[in-house]
Structures are given as structure tokens and as C-alpha cells.
């Protein structure tokens, strides 16, 4: 009889085989659907009009009339709005927390060509907000997963996947120039939706939109707050008009560090879809020259009435004959496509385009210890104190036994607690005056622990060492039962 372990291994292997087959089938379906989409578009654009295409004087087929009937029934939207939407092409950069809902609505509402740019893969710890992806796609490219969902919602529109990160080297091509989709269709995007998650991307996308003269629907969310505006449209400012100087990197918090309530980017992403639809159809007043600030915690939405640096500057130009100040969209600015290609956005903002956890290296080797080495010392019974410098709410998620939680922000005011913990440990272990207990510092990934050790050395705790790679490394190298987050 087969052992339980053997049975589990057999089941796991069969699951793997089936997942592989499913992936192949998914790929084939995607390719066929894209092919079919192209055929439909060619048919609709064909020179021989039939009753089903354009037979009613507005270009909407009976199927389209049925599918989009609730739009057509809206007096302010109607046939004209829907026709414009079907003719429009929208590129969503980022298929994450903002891009997910934006793409769902843009696909459903009948945008003619919908492009998706994302280089990343679907991860379980993002699924609370990246609602376009399903568990079956974990580990697969987000662009592919999002495109699959969009096609399953609306098989009649053209969906283009760009499985790559947007960079200065490919942005101009992807946004408009000579983009060739996987099915060899030429794609030009009319409207760009910025659903990215980092400062350099935001500057890059805005500059690219200025260079190409495209409206940009920009959204951002973090924690319980969201922000939304439309740049470079109807005389509205560009991102650089508002923020000519990048913020310090310490001010650029990431969802992976600071957390985000899933529904908050969901709301902002829906609003981005709405603004893109309004621009595509010329229905309503777009949020250009204004900014929407959403505070989910206190249920408040504030719309800043006029972010009008550029209008003011125009005014100044006429009165005082001064040049516009914006380096990119200003009247006398000559920011060319070539300058865009050569611009180093990572250097400009001091942060990476592809958001990856930062790995600092602030300490000399003597002040650092590998988690495995520490584990051995602990097993041998070495006298030590382990200080965990993560914020208290992180500590509540998971912590190592006997760790003393003193968040980095309050470390300098709580040094006495460390001194007394060390003394207590020395007493407990019966250590004399000639030696002392070691002091180790841990955090989530091994950055704050280095900052803490720097501080501790400065104030005289010269035995302080940081645990390289933090709890994440501990989980990998010492104890796989420690959950990561």
C-alpha cells in the first residue's frame, strides 16, 4: 500500500501536470480570441456594408445595440457616446489595484481597443485588491491574466497585452508610434490611464503623454486614501507642472510596506475608468485642472477646484512676458522625444521604476549576523536580547519568541528598556563583569534593523548587530513556519 507521503507526492505531481495543460489551453484560447477579434474588426471595417454593420446609420450592429442598450438609453450618452467609445483606444499602465477595476469597466463598456501594460506576475498577497485576477493565474503574468478576464467579459473588443515594464526605451512605441500587437495590428492609444505604483513611472508616463499630446488619467491610492486627476487635457497642467521636484524617496510609501485597504484603489480605479470614458466620448466634464482627494477613513471626498499652475503661468506670460516654467509642457519648453528617451527617471526620483524591495547595506560585516548563525547561538544558549524594531502592528502579525518590540521611530527614546533587558539577561544567565549579553536587532527585511544598529552604536551599544534579511530571511533559512506578509 502506498504511503501517505507517496500519495501526496503523486497528487501534487498530477496537479502540476494539469496546471501545465491548463496554461497551454489558456494560451491557445487567448491567441484564438485575439485572432477572432481581429477578424471581427476587419469585417466591421470592410468596404461592403451589410444590414448588421452600419445598417442603421450609426455603425452599431444589432449585437452591439443589445449589449450596450443601457448606455444607449442614457439621453446624455446614447448612440453617439457608445459609437465614440467603440472607436476609442485606451491604454492602462499597470494591472494592479487601480488597473484591475479600471480594466474591468473599460472592457465591459465597449472601448474599441484596450491595451494592458504590466511586467509583473499575479501574487496571492495582492489579490485582496487586484480583483481582475483569479487564483488560477497565480505566478502568471498580470497582463495575460487581466487580458483573459477582459476577453471573458467582452469578446467583441480588441485587447492588447504588453507583457513588459514601461520604460523610456519602449514607452513612445507602446503609447503610440509603431506599436504592433501580437496579432500584427497597429495600435494607437488615444487615452492613457496611469495605474502604476511608483514615482518614476508617474513622471515618465506624464512626460510621455506631453510629448505625444495624449490625455492622462492619473490615479493613486495608499492606506485609506486615494487621489485622482486628469493631466494634459483641455489645457490642464501636466504632472511636472504640479510637482516639478520629485519628493524625497522616504515620502514615497509603497502598498507592500504601508498597506492598503483593497477597496480604496478599487474606488479610484473605477473613477479612472469613468474619466477615461468621459474623455473618449466627450460626455461630461472631465476632472482636468481639478484633483479629487478621497479619504476612506472619514468618508470624505474633496475636489480641489483649481490646480491651475499653468493657467496662472499663462496669465503671467501675458502680463509680464515671462516664459512658462514647466520644463516639459511649458510654452518655451522643447522636451523632445529624444530627450524623453534619454531622461533617467530613476535617477531623477532616486527610486527604481520596477518596484522591488530596497536592500540597504549600511553596516560593516562585523555588525551583522546571518539568521542561521544566530539560530545556532540561541540553541547553544548564548546570553542575548533580540530587539524587533518593526511597528507594533507588524509585530502583532508575527514575531520571534522573546523578542522585545521597540519600533525604530521610538528607539532613541526607549534605550533604557534595552539596557535593563540586557542586564536582566546577564543576571539570568549568570554572566559576570568580564562579559555581557549580545544585542541583536531584527525587522521585516533587514533595512530598518541596520538603521537601528547604526543608532545603537552611536549611543554606546557597541555589541548591537542586525539580522541580515530580517524576518523574511529567518523564514527562508531557519524556520519556514514563520509566515511572510
Amino acid at each position: 500500500m502506498e504511503s501517505e507521503g507517496g500519495q501526496a507526492a503523486r497528487i501534487l505531481s498530477e496537479i502540476d501536470t494539469l496546471k501545465g495543460k491548463r496554461s497551454d489551453i489558456d494560451n491557445r484560447i487567448s491567441a484564438l480570441e485575439a485572432q477572432l477579434g481581429d477578424l471581427n474588426i476587419e469585417k466591421n471595417n470592410g468596404s461592403c456594408p451589410s444590414i448588421s454593420t452600419g445598417g442603421f446609420g450609426h455603425g452599431l450592429s444589432p449585437d452591439m445595440i443589445y449589449r450596450y442598450s443601457r448606455h444607449l438609453l442614457l439621453p446624455t450618452f446614447g448612440v453617439e457616446g457608445q459609437s465614440n467609445l467603440l472607436k476609442s483606444s485606451i491604454l492602462v499602465v499597470g494591472a494592479g489595484g487601480l488597473g484591475s477595476p479600471a480594466l474591468l469597466y473599460l472592457a465591459a463598456c465597449g472601448v474599441g481597443k484596450l491595451g494592458i501594460v504590466d511586467h509583473d506576475v499575479v501574487e496571492l498577497n495582492n489579490m485582496h485588491r487586484q480583483v481582475i485576477h483569479t487564483e488560477a493565474y497565480i505566478g502568471q503574468p498580470k497582463a495575460k491574466s487581466a487580458a483573459g478576464t477582459c476577453r471573458s467579459i467582452n469578446s467583441t473588443i480588441q485587447i492588447v497585452e504588453h507583457q513588459e515594464a514601461l520604460r523610456t526605451s519602449n514607452a513612445l512605441d507602446i503609447l503610440s508610434q509603431i506599436a504592433v500587437s501580437i496579432t500584427a495590428n497597429f495600435v494607437r492609444y488615444d487615452i492613457i490611464v496611469d495605474a502604476t505604483d511608483n514615482a518614476p513611472s508617474r513622471y515618465m508616463i506624464s512626460d510621455c503623454c506631453v510629448v505625444l499630446g495624449k490625455p492622462l488619467v492619473s490615479g493613486a491610492a495608499l492606506g485609506l486614501e486615494g487621489q485622482l486627476t486628469v493631466y494634459n487635457h483641455n489645457g490642464a497642467p501636466c504632472y511636472r507642472c504640479l510637482f516639478p521636484t520629485p519628493p524625497p524617496t522616504t515620502a514615497c510609501q509603497r502598498c507592500a510596506d504601508s498597506g492598503v485597504l483593497g477597496v480604496v484603489p478599487g474606488i479610484i480605479g473605477c473613477l479612472q475608468a469613468l474619466e477615461a470614458i468621459k474623455i473618449a466620448t466627450a460626455v461630461g466634464e472631465p476632472l482636468s485642472g481639478r484633483m479629487l482627494l478621497f479619504d476612506a477613513f472619514s468618508a470624505r471626498i474633496r475636489i480641489v477646484q483649481s490646480i491651475l499652475h499653468i493657467f496662472k503661468s499663462f496669465f503671467k506670460v501675458k502680463i509680464r512676458g515671462r516664459s512658462l516654467q514647466c520644463e516639459v509642457c511649458g510654452e518655451h519648453s522643447a522636451f523632445t522625444q529624444q530627450q524623453f528617451k534619454d531622461f533617467d527617471y530613476e535617477k531623477f526620483t532616486q527610486s527604481p521604476l520596477l518596484v522591488a524591495p530596497v536592500k540597504l547595506n549600511l553596516l560593516i560585516e562585523d555588525y551583522r549576523i546571518h539568521s542561521r548563525e544566530l539560530k545556532e547561538k540561541i540553541v547553544k544558549g548564548e546570553a542575548h536580547v533580540l530587539v524587533d524594531v518593526r511597528p507594533a502592528h507588524h509585530f502583532k502579525i508575527v514575531s520571534l519568541p522573546n523578542a522585545l518590540n521597540i519600533p525604530l521611530s521610538s528607539l532613541e527614546f526607549r534605550l533604557a528598556e534595552i539596557s535593563s533587558a540586557l542586564k536582566e539577561e546577564e543576571k539570568r544567565k549568570g554572566i559576570g563583569f568580564d562579559s555581557s549579553a549580545s544585542l541583536y536587532v531584527i525587522c521585516r527585511r533587514g533595512n530598518d534593523s541596520q538603521r537601528a544598529v547604526q543608532l545603537l552604536h552611536k549611543v554606546g551599544f557597541t555589541s548591537a548587530r542586525d539580522i541580515i534579511g530580517g524576518l523574511e530571511a529567518w523564514a527562508v533559512d531557519v524556520d519556514p513556519n514563520i509566515p511572510t506578509y
Partner: protein, 99 residues
């Protein structure tokens, strides 16, 4: 002078995680008007509890902070020279980049 000061986009973390502060800012003398420049100094001294460099750079707010006076971009009212009046609402908000 009664003012309502609001902090958002993470700036509230610099003032004990309190977003809305109803404050009374006294003028140096009767003739002086309170400008945004004065208010920034007052905020840094009285409300900012940690990392003041995350709020200010020089005598201005740091890059990436939007300032609204009565829901209007302060660039329109004169930036640092904006004169404040009783019951004004001043909002400091850090731009977000996440998604």
C-alpha cells in the same frame, strides 16, 4: 486666530496620526497679518512631532506636498505670501504614488 489644519496622504503620521487639528494661532502683534510662511513655522514648532524634513524643506513645504487654502491650490493665492483669515481651512496633503 482660529484655523482648521488638515494633514493627509501620510503627513498625519508626523503629527501623532491626527488628521484634523482645530488650532488657535496667535499673532505676534495686532498689526501683523498671518501668512502661510508664518503658519508653516508655527506648524513645525507646534504640531510636527517627528521627521520635520518630511514636512518642510527650507522655509517651504517639501516637494510633493500640495497645500490648499480653503480648498484652493495655494499657488493661486500667493503661496507663502497667502494671507490667512479667521476660520480658514488649510490642508497639507502628500501626493500618493501607490496603486
Amino acid at each position: 486666530m482660529q484655523l482648521t489644519l488638515e494633514f493627509g496622504g501620510g503627513l498625519e503620521l508626523l503629527c501623532d496620526s491626527v488628521k484634523i487639528h482645530n488650532v488657535n494661532v496667535s499673532l505676534k502683534n495686532e498689526v501683523d497679518k498671518l501668512t502661510m510662511k508664518d503658519l508653516l513655522v508655527w506648524v513645525r514648532t507646534n504640531l510636527i512631532k517627528e521627521r520635520p524634513e518630511m514636512f518642510m524643506k527650507g522655509d517651504n513645504v517639501r516637494p510633493g506636498v500640495l497645500v490648499l487654502v480653503n480648498d484652493c491650490d495655494w499657488e493661486l493665492s500667493g503661496q507663502l505670501d497667502t494671507t490667512l483669515e479667521d476660520k480658514d481651512v488649510v490642508v497639507f496633503i502628500s501626493t500618493l504614488h501607490g496603486g
